[in-house]
Amino acid sequence: MMKNDTVIDAHNISKIYNPETIPVFAVNDVHLHLNRGEFTALVGPSGSGKTTLLNLIGGLDRPDTGNILINNIDITKLSANKLITFRLNHIGFVFQSFNLIPVLTARENVEMIMHLQKSQRMDRDTRIKQLFEEVQLSDKIDSRPSQLSGGQQQRVAVARALASKPQFVLADEPTANLDSKSASNLLDIMAKLNTEEHITFLFSTHDQRVIDRARRVITLVDGKIVSDTLPTSTA
């Protein structure tokens, strides 16, 4: 796989809430460039705009200014329907909590993404098995989310995020609701996927121990990037 080719290229993006009354510059003229294979943490105090920025990059929300190029496609120009398909095929998501559909088993939660992508049924089974091995949950593959611990649920969410073979995975505070052991276990798995499978991760966090695991740390304050430590090493 090529190194240093661009996955995310965002210019001048801003998101302003309540522009008529008291404007909140949740994201304020941000430039962000992410290469394939990065393992990057987005940090900053509460209300600094981490979630908003991740939502913009993930195509869940539209910026008020600027462009976001993912794989050289400007997602700010996509129609609502195209954007949904784009998210499905190019971006993996891990949310903070309640990630999984409660009526589906762990396997079905992952399979659903492949189903939405209309992938071949034949390929699914091997891939699902492989994904569950990677997140070390092969034994829980047929459990319902309610039967899994928070950490296990987040690992299923990671497996699901990878199911579509996305360009990168966005995770908004994936460890926020986990105890430190589960959190470090989740990080281990993410880091391993990053080094071994070259999966690109961009995650936000408050947790210093999680920040320590990142190879690049972007710090956001009041919607602006105030520091950006570039990758220290390559995978």
Partner: protein
């Protein structure tokens, strides 16, 4: 996969799903029940019109019905005898009829006097069965007359009361004669009870001066289905006479038969509106409860069409569960009531009989309407889930996930 999710979703909140399943069952039952009652009412009405009032068809002189003149008797004809021999014909009787006045010491009332042959009449219109007081025609008293309960009450008549009947004979002169009440009857048709009085045909014929002639021939068939064919045949046998079926003779019954469907569908619409309201409400709640989850599905890349069908399928499944149960339940209950009858008399003594219905109705499961009613329920259920499903499409993933 969407189907599986939808199917499992309906079991998440069992009580809510039960509410929808139950509403669908109830909607289906109510729809079928209304039509069943209507059918039962009509069946008994038609039966009582045919078997207890007018028979299948009647033959008159063509001018008789205009003014009931005594001279308009049926001609002596072998054709009339031939009619009684037709294989489709079960029974016949011949009546002489005139309009006149009934008077007592206290007052008078207009009546139709029917001269009958008691034995034939007993079989053709169950007249003996309708007696509530007194005895069916006996030779014991001279000039016996049978009057309806309403008329008896109005004219203060009791068994053995004397009364005078006045009418014009075949030579247009007025005759009157004294009669004695021998029986009081009550039928399903109260307006007729107030009007019709029965006497021996021989007694009436003597007074009218028409010998053994009659004005009316009543024909009862073995099977209702033969009516149109036999009517044509009989009309061919007596081309100069007027042949009427029960449909012409009791046009209000015929009208009722024709408008049943319209009436029951109006009631059906009202029931369906209630059903739709219930489903819209419950499904909206179901969606509101799952905002976050649905928002996440959109975030992950589920497109609007799939989301729409996810919601729609839930209602479809609920309908698919509710309908068979509803059908079974309706079928069992309506058939039970069909055997035991629904007694409307507790809602008022005269409520049904004043419209010419029996008090006890035997609802009939409407086999020929069941598909239509079933479809109406299914379509109502699915249309009502469209609104919540469309509502779900408006979901913005960012806002939904924030919840």
């Amino acid at each position: 996969m969407i189907l599986m999710m939808a199917w499992r979703n309906i079991w998440r909140n069992k009580s809510r799903s039960m509410i929808i399943i139950f509403s669908i069952m109830l909607g289906l039952f109510a729809g079928l029940f209304v039509v069943a009652i209507y059918k039962g009412m009509l069946r008994s009405k038609v039966r009582s019109v045919i078997d207890r009032e007018v028979g299948h068809l009647q033959i008159h002189q063509s001018k008789f019905k205009e003014d009931y003149l005594a001279e308009y008797v049926l001609p002596e004809s072998t054709a009339l005898v031939d009619i009684t021999q037709l294989p489709e014909v079960k029974l016949t009787t011949q009546r002489s009829i005139t309009n006149g006045m009934l008077s007592t010491a206290t007052g008078s009332a207009g009546v139709t006097i029917l001269g009958i042959v008691p034995n034939e009449e007993r079989a053709i219109s169950q007249l003996a069965e309708k007696i509530i007081e007194g005895d069916y025609f006996t030779e014991k008293i001279r000039n016996p007359v049978m009057v309806g309960r309403k008329l008896a009450r109005k004219m203060k008549l009791k068994i053995k009361s004397k009364l005078v009947l006045t009418f014009t004979d075949s030579t247009n002169s007025i005759v009157s004669a004294a009669f004695r009440v021998m029986a009081i009857y009550e039928s399903e048709n109260t307006p007729l009870d107030e009007r019709n009085v029965y006497v021996f045909r021989d007694d009436l014929n003597k007074l009218l001066g028409i010998g053994s002639s009659v004005h009316e021939m009543v024909v009862l068939l073995n099977r209702d289905e033969d009516l149109d064919r036999v009517t044509k045949e009989i009309q061919g046998m007596v081309p100069s006479l007027q042949v009427d079926t029960w449909k012409n003779l009791s046009p209000e019954t015929e009208l009722m038969v024709d408008t049943t469907n319209e009436y029951s569908y109006i009631i059906l619409v009202i029931i369906m509106l209630a059903l739709a309201f219930g489903i819209i409400n419950t499904m909206l709640m179901a969606i509101l409860e799952r905002t976050r989850e649905l928002g996440m599905l959109v975030a992950l890349g589920m497109n609007k069409v799939r989301l729409f069908f996810l919601i729609l399928w839930e209602t479809v499944f609920l309908t698919m569960v509710g309908c068979p149960f509803g059908l079974l339940f309706s079928w069992l209950w309506i058939n039970y009531l069909n055997r035991n009858g629904v007694d409307f008399s507790r809602f008022g003594e005269d409520m049904m009989s004043s419209f010419g219905f029996t008090n006890v109705i035997y609802p009939e499961f409407p086999y020929d309407n069941v598909i239509v009613i079933f479809l109406i329920v299914v379509i109502t259920a699915i249309l009502s889930s469209l609104f919540p499903a469309l509502k779900a499409l408006k979901l913005q993933p960012v806002e939904a996930l924030r919840k």
